[in-house]
């Protein structure tokens, strides 16, 4: 299981990447800052970054809003 933002659990699968986790959560916003187990992931790397079962992924949406 991948724990996302200490709030949601995404079932882990063999070969899973951060991009897969984002898709599973429906995170489409293009302004996000992602870290895995506390390590910040550069935007160019994050989509293909592998995740392991039990990883904790944090996804911060950068949005000013109303």
């Amino acid at each position: 299981m991948i724990r996302v933002n200490d709030k949601w659990d995404v079932p882990w699968q063999e070969g899973m990447t951060v991009g897969d986790v984002l898709a599973a959560c429906g995170f489409t916003h293009r302004q996000i800052v992602v870290s895995n187990n506390g390590r910040a992931l550069p935007p160019a790397e994050r989509e293909a970054q592998p995740v392991a079962d039990g990883d904790r992924v944090q996804v911060i949406h950068v949005i000013g809003g109303g």
Partner: protein
Amino acid sequence: MQQVNDELEFVHDFVIGDFGLIAGFDQRLEPGYDQFGRTAAENSLFTEQVRFGLLGKRRLDDARPGTADPGRVGEGFLQRLSGCILVNGDEGLIQILEAPEESVNSHIVAEEMVALFADKPGEKQGVTSVSAGSGADHTRMGCLNFSFYDPRRGVARLKQAGRGGIGTVLRQKKVKALVVKYTGLQGDSNHPADLGRIQQTGAKMHREIREQDPLQAEMRKDGTNHLTQIMNDYDILPVHNFRYGNHPQASKIYSPEFCKYFEYSGPDGCWYGCTMACAKFATGLELRSGPYKGQTVTVDGPEYETVAGVGASCGTFDAATVLETNFYCDTYGIDTISFSTAMAFVMECYEEGILNQERTGGLDLHFGNADALLEVLHQMARGEGFGLVVGQGIRRMKEMFAREYGADPQFLQDIGMEVKGLEYSEYVTKESLAMQGGYGLANKGPQHDEAWLIFMDAVNNQIPTFEDKAEALHYFPMWRTWFGLVGLCKLPWNDVEPADNQTRYSGIDAAKVPEHVQNYVELFRGVTGRDDVESGDDLVHMSEVVYNFQRVFNLKMGFGTREHDAIPYRSVGPVTDVEYESRAERYDGQLRELLGVDPEGMSTTEKRLALRRYREQQYEKLIDAVYERRGWNSNGIPTMETIQALGIDYPDVVALIEQRAGQPA
């Protein structure tokens, strides 16, 4: 000024600063009329405020003869004609002029005022007017239009402000326009104490916006409507009176559908020298309804709130309808947010059978009926039909529908999206407890510009505890209030961020965008020369004083306590079984994880009510935490210690607090 006198009958003028010498106006004024059927005495807004409208009570009580001749004021002129107040900065005069009533709608008034008061073409940018149109005459949701002349397009454009009915007040005072003429405006006309500090900060902000906006929100290209797709993707877009958070037709109102109308001929700021330039200008809209049917007009905007309200909450999902509604709301002086949220409410009432065509005057008000929506808007402007009912706002409609049609008051309370009498702006808050508080606790009513915490709370999960949420609901409303205190735009604070903001800071600190808060400190110091202001905390302290005084003012006026911070359940959770079923997986999961309840074997109604009890308790706990953080008692009243610490312990404030503090919540 001969040109002016051809159109407007001169009534009065006086040198700026001589208000106190004017006497006699009040003797000519008659009690205000009341088109809503109440006697004038029952409706203090329309009696007292008209009487005291232009001059203020002190002057009205002052019977001294002045330099101005009261005899020149026409008998009951405020009843016969509109007034036009000209603040002539070039000549150092304020003049009150009679103005013909034929054209009170703002897109015409703004052009009229430029034509009348700009003596030469080059002076057009030096004429701005504040007005509200015929819709503000007949509703309680009138807002104000502020014009600015766009020399590139050769038109006077309009920006709106003042939710809560201030446009209605202006029209009840029979003011057609407040006009300011000053042709010498420069970037340093406010005589800043340290121009170099401002220039340095401005250059930094300019550079960052140019670099980062294309990578971030693209406000320069899309304006605030870039939010619509994001809100739909994250189940936050208000669909059909906030029942749901997304809709398959939402793409019809995404930014590209409006960009087709936008005319891009360079930066499009609504303020002098703004780099963010998020103002948008739609051209080539041929109106299909109303008094200007067949005309091709321009529209400023639309902003996200209008798109979401008209397009999604009312279910029209059509860019042209949004633009036409935007145009007419603007020129009629009607707040697009209150209009669309009120319309969504009556559309749900129609679909629920509370309203029918007999009660709406023949209008079919199913969600999505754009023609009927526009007709209600025109009725508001004409002061007739069901438009008068909707124009009263949701709070009064709830009372009326229960009283006249026997509707269930609790259901109306649950779906009527208003707090403190003001309609909600356009975000679904069901999954964000903090944002529920942001709306419910706002001093003026549920307006997003006090606190916008949805993503921080519901998605990023950066403020998970009650204490975290309370801290956010202290800091952000205070900080955002500061923009209103000084008249600066909020957008360059957090609608663009330094590239490294989210890696330098985390959690709530990142959301504060500390580097940008410091920009405003520098601007404030540069303008005022106050070197004692060193940090964002100093700015927030200014707001704490004002915010608490606002709360005390609300208290004095019969509000400002816990019961007035209550919110409709539609903003907390699913009101109906249909709503519950639409997100059943989510809600069932919450019953298991948060309540420890197994939903198996429970009916939808049983599950919905169990969730409701939990969520309503959560809201009350949140309120407790926020009151404590703000230094208020359990009834939401600032404590004596708080008002003393903020230096607002004036005798009448102390007396009010002492009188009310002991009363139970």
